[in-house]
């Protein structure tokens, strides 16, 4: 049991209201220590990538938000929205009103491939496309030209599958989802007929989850296509498939095997899963006209294979490219940052200096702690681990009383920051649901912060 706590409850600020932030709040509020949690979020809307990352046609996954709302109703939970930590207020300032801070702000930057032509018109980060169709305010003004016939998605994870599926599906199947209305207008005019999902390594190394890959066999009017020759495995890949802890690999290979014979040519669209191709250059002068790939071979031990580029090159003409090769975290003022890995250096969730010494009272969880991997639930175990480390430090953290959420709110409003509350979010939420009704959508998202603020209580009351 923690010691004698004379200083009232432990007051913890969590920066970021996505899955890792909510699960950290949950773990704290369920602990044996009296705790109050203040979750500070950049947007007036919480839920992070469950709202703006999970694809609109996967509404079941979005039900994770029900759990977040339940956590938000717990005693001791407070939400402060529309506050960018590092700009409106620093981590050090938050530490004057809270005993400690958990940084849970995710990985907002996209990873570049590092090849010529990446900035040509028509080549985008998948992150922007996802944010745009999900109505994230940062991407409300993005423009995507889908007037060409061929799209290439570079990358082989679930984000690549999400964007490929949005381009493959009949737009009428998306209309009744919570997809942003501006995206429906553009997708309805899309002339894309061929979608290529391309990666450097082989089918055994792809990071697809099986139900997502299998879904491509069920999209009306779109044939999934894989090449028999891509599915021949080298010895190390065979060892990977026979590993009993990696059942997904075998399942994915079976699914892709089914796609080698599916081509009907009758469907209007096709989605091609292609492997062993490393992008060398995006081609075009004013805008994208194609991608030049080098064919690769794999070398190295099972589960440690790398793609080695060969002299054998292949050019795929296309007009639209999404790169989906990962995310990177961004630094935050006053906190050490590992710029090579794009995350906060940490030891079991305790943020550390370069020499390994812990930074007093600063913790990390989620993507900014471990890098952009795993799915929603991965963050639950990760945040539980960070909170365990934090609670082990509780005696040294509680070195005097703190004002908590009220103190932080006053600090923010004193300097003119337009912060929002959980009831403001409830108003935005209700407005979106109401707007969605005549459209047959579960909600019609508000993709602009100023418009969201119009539904909130007037500032300073």
């Amino acid at each position: 049991m923690p010691g004698n706590h004379q200083n009232g409850p432990l007051r913890v600020a969590i920066i970021g209201a996505g899955p890792s932030g909510f699960y950290a709040a949950e773990a704290l509020l369920r602990s044996q220590v009296p705790v109050e949690v203040t979750v500070v979020e950049r947007l007036p809307s919480p839920h992070g990538l469950v709202r703006s990352g999970v694809a609109p046609d996967h509404p079941k996954l979005k039900q994770a938000a029900i759990v977040f709302e339940r956590i938000a109703q717990s005693e001791g939970f407070c939400f402060i929205g529309n506050v960018t930590v590092g700009k409106a207020i620093t981590v050090q300032e938050i530490l004057t009103t809270h005993h400690c801070v958990i940084l849970a702000y995710g990985a907002s930057e996209d990873q570049r491939i590092g090849i010529p032509g990446e900035d040509l018109a028509g080549c985008h980060a998948a992150k922007e496309f996802v944010g745009w169709y999900n109505g994230h305010p940062d991407y409300g003004d993005c423009h995507f030209d889908l007037s060409g016939e061929t799209a290439v998605i570079i990358g082989q994870g679930n984000v690549a599958l999400d964007v490929a599926r949005i381009l493959s599906k009949p737009v009428d199947e998306l209309r009744t989802t919570d997809i942003a209305s501006h995206a429906i207008e553009v997708l309805a005019e899309s002339r894309i007929r061929e979608i290529h999902v391309v990666g450097r390594r082989g089918p055994a190394q792809a990071k697809f989850t099986s139900p997502e890959l299998r879904e491509f066999g069920t999209i009306p009017g779109c044939d999934p296509v894989a090449l028999e020759s891509d599915l021949a495995l080298n010895e190390a890949s065979q060892a990977e498939t026979s590993d009993r802890m990696s059942r997904t690999i075998t399942t994915n290979l079976d699914i892709l095997g089914g796609y080698t014979t599916r081509r009907t040519e009758l469907a209007g669209k096709s989605c091609h899963f292609q492997f062993f191709l490393a992008p060398q250059a995006i081609l075009g002068t004013d805008r994208v006209t194609g991608v030049r790939f080098a064919r690769t071979t794999l070398t190295g031990p099972a589960f440690g294979q790398r793609a080695i580029v060969t002299d054998n090159e292949w050019t795929l003409p296309c007009q639209f490219i999404l790169r989906s090769v990962g995310y990177r975290g961004a630094p935050i003022e006053g906190v050490p940052f590992d710029s090579r890995r794009g995350l906060l250096p940490n030891d079991s969730g305790r943020v550390v200096h370069e020499d390994g010494r812990p930074v007093n009272a600063v913790y990390a969880t989620g993507w900014i702690k471990r890098g952009p991997s795993g799915i929603i639930g991965t963050n639950r175990a990760d945040s539980a681990a960070t909170v365990e480390a934090l609670l082990a430090d509780v005696d040294s953290l509680m070195n005097g009383p703190r004002e908590g959420a009220d103190g932080l709110w006053n600090l923010l409003t004193d300097r003119g920051v337009r912060a929002t509350t959980l009831s403001d979010w409830r108003r935005i939420d209700a407005a979106e649901i109401e707007r969605g009704k005549p459209l047959g959508k579960p909600r019609d998202k508000i993709a602009c912060v100023n418009e969201m603020l119009g539904f909130c209580e007037p500032a300073n009351g």
Binding site: P19, Y23, R30, K60, L61, Q63, A64, I66, V67, T209, S210, P211, R214, R244, M245, S246, R247, T248, T251, G374, I375, I376, G377, T378, N379, R380, A381, A384
Partner: protein, 101 residues
């Protein structure tokens, strides 16, 4: 198509699945855990987490394990939800090595 827990869990109950479940859809008795299919959001997080690979998505379930669909439904309805990781059952490691994991 929810996740389905099958026989490998019996007498192990490692509960790594519970730690990564975003929606607390696991229920437990003294022997193993079960998934409440109405709460499961089909995210697949639990599948690679299981040290004895006891969990399948319903659509990927081998033929000889189909009976576990109704067992999960029935047991989840009767049993309390389990919200955090527990100690594995005594003998779990032995069963794991017998199963070859």
């Amino acid at each position: 198509m929810p996740a389905i827990v099958t026989d490998n869990c019996n007498a192990c109950r490692f509960t790594e699945c519970v730690a990564v479940c975003p929606v607390e859809c696991f229920h437990a008795d003294d022997d193993m855990v079960y998934v409440d299919r109405d709460t499961c959001i089909d995210c697949c997080a639990c599948i690679p987490a299981c040290p004895v690979q006891a969990i399948y998505m319903e659509g990927e379930l081998p033929e000889d394990k189909r009976q576990w669909v109704s067992i999960n439904t029935q047991k989840a309805a009767e049993l309390p939800a389990i919200t955090g990781k527990h100690q594995p059952l005594p003998g779990a490691e032995e069963k794991r090595s017998v199963l070859g994991y």
